[in-house]
Structures are given as structure tokens and as C-alpha cells.
């Protein structure tokens, strides 16, 4: 599973990208966020307030309740501010 972080989420986790293999119990984005939070204090800080986070699964906007699978590209980031 390829995980990407952007903006202040990236700054908190300390990495832009990591490849992980979560346990089989991680079937949703929420479960994935919980599991990633345990990787470091920075990860915990990044995932502390889910209301401030958005995510994409395979480059499509998604919800925390959406399912995630082994080969997915999953990105976590703040609300978008283009333009």
C-alpha cells in the first residue's frame, strides 16, 4: 500500500511517501489512519484531528469510511486550496 502525504500532513509525518503493509484487519481508511498513527509521534500528530483531513484513494477523493486494499495509492492531506 502506497501512502502519500501533502502540505502540513507531510510536514508532521516527516515524509512525503511511504510504502506500508498493514495487517488484514485494516480494511477502511479510518482503520488505516489509526494504524498509521502508531508509526511515530509525527504520524499521531498528523492524524489527531480527522475533521481537518481529507483523503484520496487511487487519486479520487474518498471518505474515511471507504474500503482500502493492498495495492491502493492512498493520500492524506488538508482541505484543498487551489486557485
Amino acid at each position: 500500500m502506497r501512502i502519500l502525504y501533502f502540505a502540513w500532513v507531510r510536514e508532521r509525518t516527516g515524509t512525503a511517501e511511504e510504502t506500508v503493509t498493514p495487517p488484514a484487519t485494516v480494511t477502511t481508511a479510518t482503520a488505516l489512519a489509526d494504524w498509521l498513527s502508531a508509526r511515530s509521534d509525527g504520524h499521531a500528530a498528523a492524524f489527531a484531528d480527522r475533521k481537518r483531513l481529507r483523503l484520496a484513494i487511487n487519486q479520487d477523493q474518498a471518505d474515511f469510511s471507504d474500503p482500502v486494499a493492498a495495492n491502493d495509492e492512498i493520500a492524506f492531506f488538508p482541505p484543498m486550496t487551489g486557485g
Partner: protein, 148 residues
């Protein structure tokens, strides 16, 4: 109907010329240019999600094309660090009539603000630095285009 993400600046005149070259079926052409405002801002750094950004912008543009009879359209968005006064984004729409061109350009900007994966970090002249929050007014602007 190109969508481009680039670090380089863009030349509005050249882009417009390319859009309308060799054709005489365009009656109305609207451009929107977004610029970095100064004041306390020393620079703005734009980050994006390569791959997803292009996909999101293409989807936004495709939606505009289903809603308005556009002859041409263009979205250019810069990334990287930009100084006050610098151009950030160009949206151009061409149509037979002015209302379609105005509305489509406004629609593209509203969706681009909320639905394209860009993030802005502001470095301030006092040395402080922070990521800009998304604004609820931008979400409200986008939502006025939602169909019932």
C-alpha cells in the same frame, strides 16, 4: 481543452492567441488570472498532487463542457514558490455568447479552488510561515453550482 500544471510563468496573450488561432466562431472570450497578493505575504508556495491534480482539473473542465457550449477552454496552474504580484492561475473560456463564457470561467474557478489538490503555504515578511486554510466561502461558492 488543455490542462497544465507548471512551475513556469505563463503568457496570457500567447495562450489566448493559441486558443483562438485560425477560427472565427468565438464571439466571447473570458480569462481569469489569479495573482499573489502582497501585504504581509513574502511568498506563496504551492504544492500539488502530481497525477491527481491533472485528473481533477480535467474532470472539472469536462463538467464545464457538459454545462456550457464552449468552443475552447484552458486551465493553467502554477506550482512552486511565487512572489507577490506573480500569476498563479489562468482560466480561459471561449463561447459564442458572453454569458456562457462568464459562467463557465466562474464555475471552473469555484471548483478549482475546492476540488483540485493544491495547497498553499504562506511565508510572511515577519518570518512566520503557515499553510492557508480552506475557506468556507469557497465551498459555498462551489456549492451554488450543484444541481438539485
Amino acid at each position: 481543452m488543455p490542462v497544465r500544471i507548471q512551475a513556469e510563468d505563463f503568457d496570457i496573450a500567447a495562450e489566448i492567441a493559441a486558443l483562438s488561432a485560425g477560427r472565427d466562431d468565438i464571439g466571447a472570450l473570458v480569462t481569469f488570472t489569479g495573482l499573489v497578493r502582497g501585504g504581509e505575504t513574502a511568498s506563496l508556495t504551492l504544492e500539488h498532487y502530481p497525477g491527481m491534480t491533472e485528473k481533477a482539473l480535467s474532470a472539472i473542465e469536462a463538467e464545464a463542457l457538459t454545462r456550457w457550449p464552449l468552443k475552447a477552454s484552458l486551465i493553467i496552474h502554477r506550482v512552486g514558490t511565487l512572489a507577490p504580484g506573480a500569476q498563479i492561475v489562468l482560466v480561459a473560456t471561449a463561447s459564442e455568447s458572453r454569458h456562457a463564457a462568464f459562467e463557465a470561467a466562474s464555475f471552473l474557478m469555484d471548483y478549482l479552488k475546492t476540488d483540485a489538490p493544491f495547497w498553499k503555504r504562506e511565508d510572511r515578511s515577519d518570518g512566520a510561515s503557515h499553510w492557508l486554510d480552506a475557506r468556507e466561502t469557497d465551498t459555498a461558492s462551489r456549492d451554488r453550482w450543484k444541481k438539485p
